[in-house]
């Protein structure tokens, strides 16, 4: 396969060696899986935390470059951690955040939207999709907005589409309409 997803070429060069990265996941094994994938990308995970409280202790003082955090954790969960982070001021309020989830509860959908994370990956995720999201959040130029309780990247994707398969109904409908129009035009010729 020549390309990975829609945005990455296999021959493209990336350098993530110096990225100070933190994983927060209550499952030691899930954290090990994530850190193994990151190691393949050249990232040595600096901090692997089993809970939000110990993560906060570090995040208050040490600047990091990437945070990968699980949504579902006992006690303070991933959403609450990111909510805290975005209001924590320097050094990490604007750090790129990827959240991971095995399953999203229906009652959590609004929390996902309002979490302030740059991206949420639902499992099963592949090494390719994780890398694609890392590259995407690194280049995510969206401004940060403060709207009521929300503090995080602008949730409207204006110039660049989010990575992965298109799921926005209006965009899918428009693309389908354009394809049908093109097919009709082609058959009329």
């Amino acid at each position: 396969m020549g390309v990975v997803g829609e945005t990455l070429r296999e021959s493209a060069i990336i350098n993530l060696t110096g990225a100070v990265t933190m994983i927060v996941d209550d499952s030691a094994f899930a954290a090990e899986i994530t850190s193994s994938a990151l190691l393949g990308f050249g990232i040595k995970t600096r901090y692997s935390m089993r809970g939000a409280a110990e993560a906060i202790e570090v995040l208050q003082d040490v600047e990091i470059d990437l945070l990968v955090v699980d949504c579902e954790m006992p006690g303070m969960d991933g959403f609450e951690l990111v909510h805290w982070l975005r209001r924590s001021g320097p050094p990490n309020a604007f750090v790129p955040v990827i959240m991971t989830a095995g399953h999203i509860r229906r009652s959590m959908v609004s929390r996902v939207r309002d979490s302030g994370a740059n991206f949420i990956i639902t499992k099963p995720f592949s090494a390719a999709s994780l890398l694609e999201r890392i590259v995407w959040v690194a280049r995510d130029g969206r401004p940060f907005l403060e709207v009521g309780e929300y503090f995080g990247p602008d949730r409207r994707f204006r110039e660049t589409a989010p990575p992965g398969e298109e799921r926005r109904v209006d965009v899918i409908r428009r693309a389908r309409f354009e394809a049908e129009k093109a097919a009709l035009a082609a058959s009329a010729q």
Binding site: G40, D65, L131
Partner: protein, 158 residues
């Protein structure tokens, strides 16, 4: 509603990723896949451990115990997805996600929820975990039976 736009500098990650050195995407992915596949045995042990924990659980006897049990089941099912998903254990993953859906539904429906469906999910997980890798038809039968049951039970409302 007031909208405040915060100016921010580009993340350091943006500069790092384009700095000199590094590896190609193809090499990075090959390395990552190799690292993950080295954890397969450990992953299978994790899956078994969490399925055993689910099997060992008793049905809740009162509302407080119900809330606690649902939380425990949800966490275990999530951990099964964590451990199974990198190793192409698709049926186990699908049943664990379906179990999460059931727990989510139970949290909303409370006493009206039929707990037997959770028990069937747990038994399906146990069965899938003991079937040999080559038992493709049997695995498909287990998941199809479960999917049919869920559709019959919730098809009209869900």
């Amino acid at each position: 509603m007031t909208v405040i736009t915060h100016a921010r500098r580009a993340p350091r990650l943006a500069a790092l990723i384009d700095s000199a050195g590094g590896v190609s995407i193809g090499v990075a992915l090959a390395q990552a896949r190799e690292n993950i596949s080295a954890l397969r045995e450990k992953g299978l042990e994790e899956v078994t451990r969490h399925i055993d924990a689910l099997v060992a659980m008793d049905a809740p006897s009162d509302p407080d115990a119900t809330v606690h049990s649902l939380q425990q089941i949800y966490h275990s099912a999530n951990h099964i997805v964590d451990a199974a998903s990198p190793f192409d254990l698709e049926e186990i993953c699908a049943v664990a996600i379906s179990l999460c859906d059931m727990v989510d539904r139970a949290s909303v429906e409370g006493a009206a929820f039929d707990w037997r469906i959770v028990a069937v999910h747990i038994q399906s997980l146990r069965l899938l975990n003991t079937l040999p890798a080559g038992a493709v038809a049997e695995r498909a039968e287990v998941t199809a039976h479960l999917a049919g049951m869920v559709a019959k039970k919730f098809g009209q409302t869900g």
